[in-house]
């Protein structure tokens, strides 16, 4: 736990950056807009401020008061507010916790307590790439700790720390929901399955070179894929029910008090779904494996709408991530990660 950061450590996110070339951003990383945490430009770009970005229009990040306003009168909202601040700035700037306590009924003690209680919150600025090494039971027995050690050795930092060049933040987590692929390492939303200490160096190098996310815009390919549950590895294909002429992908879904099946087209690039219940547009739904009943939820946020992503293993290697928000077309296919 460090002291409140000094002036220059404060995020520049809230102030408008007027001229190209002017310094801004947290630790040399662009955080000018409210998509900063998941912005793919930001993740790839070297620059302090990214000008060619199309999300740039919305670069004026909402202040704490604005975020808190949305939750006014809703009890127990402190975590949602903190989540939103973290998503916006990539971490929880200490002075914002103070602002939050002033803007709401929560005392600083409560806010700070919640912020330090949950592992997903960070009080320190994170590096450009967040490396999460899974130490959950399944990954642990398959050698997760050795992988974590190797990362610590190679990066010269300990879990929970950020490298001096602000490139990497290393953290250990307890289960990323892809046990069948263990030991799992996730770098900025990219899943690396069956990692062993020998692969660590390559993962770091690959990350430095830039992980190419194949995102749907610009990815016009349409082809069928076969997927299985990342947790129990059971195939999710339903040959008895065709969509687009191909076996559909069947999962269990739940939103509010409604639970039922959802069948999706297995054509990558097609958004045809059939569902037991009508899902209202823009709702975030929870996906579950119909076999092991584990929730399918990745550590990654949708690059388009910030909702949690749903991971599935692609037969033949790789992971596909789809957005859990109805109507959002954010999804990505990660073949490369598998071939490390």
């Amino acid at each position: 736990m460090g002291p409140i950061p000094t002036e220059e450590e404060k995020p520049a996110g809230r102030q408008r950056v007027s001229k190209p070339g002017k310094e801004g951003g947290v630790g040399g990383i662009c955080s000018t807009c409210n998509q900063a945490a998941s912005c793919s430009y930001r993740l790839k770009n070297e620059g302090l401020v990214i000008w060619e970005c199309d999300l740039y229009e919305s670069y004026e990040t909402p202040g704490v008061a604005k975020i808190a306003e949305k939750y006014e009168g809703k009890p127990g909202s402190v975590i949602s507010i903190l989540e939103e601040i973290q998503a916006t700035y990539g971490y929880l700037p200490p002075d914002m916790l103070k602002e939050l306590s002033e803007a709401t009924d929560y005392s600083l003690v409560d806010v700070y307590g919640a912020a330090t209680f949950y592992k997903s919150f960070s009080l320190k600025p994170r590096g450009k790439y967040l490396v999460s090494v899974c130490l959950g039971t399944a990954c642990h027995v398959r050698g997760g700790p050795a992988v974590a050690k190797e990362f610590e050795r190679r990066l010269g930092i300990r879990a929970g720390e950020t490298t001096a060049d602000k490139e990497f933040t290393l953290e250990t987590v307890n289960c990323l929901g892809a046990c069948a692929l263990g030991p799992v390492v996730v770098v900025e939303g990219h899943y690396f399955p069956q990692v062993n200490p020998e692969k660590v160096e390559r993962i770091i190098d690959r990350t430095r070179e830039g992980l190419d996310k194949i995102e749907i815009e610009g990815d016009e390919r349409i082809f069928p894929i076969e997927v299985s549950c990342p947790r129990c590895n059971h195939s999710l294909m339903d040959a008895g029910h065709l969509i687009d002429g191909y076996p559909s992908i069947r999962v269990t879904l739940s939103f509010g008090h409604t639970h039922g099946w959802l069948r999706m087209s297995s054509l990558y690039g097609s958004y045809n779904v059939e569902s037991e219940y009508e899902i209202p547009k823009r709702t975030i739904v929870n996906f579950f494996c119909p076999y092991c009943h584990a929730e399918l939820r990745a550590a990654t946020a949708c690059p388009e709408c910030q909702a949690p992503m749903v991971p599935m293993i692609v037969h033949g290697g790789g992971i596909v991530l789809i957005c859990s928000r109805r109507g959002c077309k954010g999804h990505m296919l990660d073949f490369d990660g598998a071939n490390i």
Binding site: I4, L108, D110, G113, F117
Partner: protein
């Protein structure tokens, strides 16, 4: 009104009463540590365990937080309760042997040995100070932070709190930090609070890891002014 059985005695109390309150009212002693009448119950120390239910369904609950229910059967001193209570005290001794309150508890409940690795914690996370600060002093200057092994109590960011009025309520109520006023070597600390005439925290460095949220500390100020 709720009717229930307390150690075989049919009693009736007002709804919402906790087992601890009822037992004390009817004269059955239950030891407590993290409980204070003036503060909301928190259930952290588990010293106040009692047994409820019967047969295989019988279980131990913390009486300071458990509210009586119609027909409940409560035993405050069954064999199982005594055993659990002694274990709690033994564990408390293992983590914070220098506390007079814990030493007294051990002697009152005939706990003669301590079989665990000896530690000298300066906080047992009973939360009395946190509740004191919030509920009696209306300040909310200190609170719990982190979780699991790293859980601790203190001010946000570990810096001087703007809320703190230096009332000293946290130190007053703390069952663990009497070391401040007893002795500086935890291994040799034998409580002798009353025999102690000078405040040992003058030697500041030795108190680095003591619980003291006050900045400046009232005691230190008095001593400074006497110099």
């Amino acid at each position: 009104m709720v009717k229930f059985t307390l150690n075989g005695l049919e009693v009736e109390v007002e709804e919402g009463t906790t087992i601890l309150e009822a037992a004390r009212f009817f004269g059955f002693p239950i030891p407590t540590l993290c409980y204070n009448e003036a503060l909301s119950p928190y259930g952290a120390c588990r010293l106040c365990v009692v047994e409820i239910g019967e047969g295989p369904k019988a279980k131990l609950v913390s009486s300071c937080t458990y509210r009586v229910e119609e027909g409940l059967k409560v035993r405050t001193a069954s064999e199982r309760v005594i055993k659990a209570r002694k274990m709690v005290i033994e564990l408390l001794l293992a983590s914070c042997p220098q506390s007079k309150i814990i030493q007294d508890l051990a002697s009152a409940h005939d706990v003669r040995r301590q079989r665990f690795k000896q530690e000298y914690e300066d906080c047992i996370l009973c939360g009395l100070c946190v509740r004191m600060c919030e509920e009696q002093m209306m300040a909310k200057a200190i609170g719990f932070r982190e979780r699991g092994e790293r859980r601790s109590i203190g001010t946000p960011f570990d810096i001087k709190s703007e809320e703190c009025r230096l009332c000293g309520g946290c130190i007053y109520i703390c069952p663990a930090c009497q070391l401040r006023c007893t002795y500086t070597e935890p291994e040799e600390a034998i409580c002798g609070g009353c025999a102690n005439i000078s405040v040992p925290c003058v030697e500041k460095e030795q108190f680095d890891d003591m619980m003291c949220y006050m900045e400046p500390c009232v005691a230190c100020e008095i001593i400074d002014s006497e110099k």
